[in-house]
Amino acid sequence: MAQVISLDSLMIPVSTDTMRQQLESGGCSSSSCGSSDGPADMAPEVWAKVKDHPCYSEEAHHYFARMHVAVAPACNIQCNYCNRKYDCANESRPGVVSEKLTPEQALRKVVTVANEVPQLSVLGIAGPGDACYDWKRTKATFDLVAKEIPDIKLCLSTNGLALPDHVDEIADMNIDHVTITINMVDPQVGTGIYPWIFYNHRRWTGLEAAKILHERQMQGLEMLAARNILVKVNSVMIPGVNDEHLVEVNKVVKAKGAFLHNVMPLISDPAHGTYFGLNGQRGPRAMELKALQDKLSDGTKLMRHCRQCRADAVGLLGEDRGQEFTMDQLAEEISYDPSKRAAYREIVAENRGEHVAQKAAAAEVVAESDTDATVLVAVATKGGGRINQHFGHATEFQVYEVSPSGIGFVGHRKVDQYCQGGWGEDATLDGVLAVLEGVTIVLCAKVGDCPKDSLAAAGIQVSHDYAYDWIESGIAAWYAAAYPSAARLSA
């Protein structure tokens, strides 16, 4: 088995010495270590841009963290899935309102996080309003941070309405990742999603509003693509409103040069006070989302690892450490210390080389299986590309699809944490079972007998036989044992 360099030990507090020790004692035993070839379907200059961005590279999201600063509260459109009293519903959880920051406060927060979270690679501005409409605050924040931490990647997310006005500045500021939320390319569909927009000094409603928004979104997308700025398109999947239409959206945004398409499930709950929530509009189930994503995978590269994070999230995708870094916990005076982030990058470079080699080896293992079985495997992981989390501690599972043609990440499923202070909760376990719909086996670092039996009764296996292995290696080993190759059967 591959040598294990657990990235757990890099969770803060951690000294640079600890990281160096990890590096020396662990080392990299693989002969192909150091190879950091990007995926074959990506140009080298594109890979260079995305390789450390957790939102743009599925591989990077195992290693790198992002943070959002909530400096842009003003918005210029109304969406039916958003109630501004609770921030944007798609980036927030019920009842949790983020702290709005001034650009100066944001700088202090970013420097504090950079000093304490070595995984940090990206600073994003995603609202809670619109980063392009609230442009003065967005720009002031990026200018301050870029001066202090020149190597941090800057990205922003927008509804697109004000985007064309700022594309040149975006290019000048070296922001090379922009996300546009595009829920429709047919204004008629848009009328069911956007009650109004504010544009050119007046409020527009109905078809007119949706038409203007659509035109501005397309214009912004084309302008960014023409400047080689990577564009991720987010689409909220709203059953009965735009779910089927998203196939068309995928075609259009791909043709206009979007790099990634990210279809996210509508989050809808009456408690959020949104139009959709109050009117009983439901969100899609995990398998409905997957079915749509599968239909789209021939189009623009599809993102399946999005966690719909808050406008003030901090940490690896799938974790939110925002509460550790609220303004009242930050020091008045703070200066940036680049040493931890630099040391972490060295360690990741080594780890990643090995991970790439292990992935290739895993693909060879499953290719030998004499079966046409395609199964879903859920993995409990804390990051680093390993099966390294206890079943009861998981707040989400990463789901992989495996067949002889390979092992691919297909999405994550969020669950309420099963284990709370050592005691499993039966009510929560029922929720876990529902979330694991379609999954054959769960791979984790450890699991108790009780949840194991309950899952078995529901037809889902759980195993800790592959604890701390690379995710793909563990899946391949399990798959090869479950579906042996013809050669091995006859031997």
């Binding site: 918005c75 501004r84 609230d134």
Partner: protein, 64 residues
Amino acid sequence: MAYKIVASQCTACGACEFECPNAAISTKRGVYVIDAALCTECEGHFKSPQCAAVCPVADTCVPA
């Protein structure tokens, strides 16, 4: 002739502040307020009061 902001409803997003052509809007104790002496309801500037047109919360930016 002026507009006012219902403080209990204001989300303090600040959109009204930068749309106001008269610089009549500022923050006070965490929410935005309109200085009635400066407010013209945008007459001579725009067809409709900008603060009310951009406000994301219904019935929050209203005639005083």
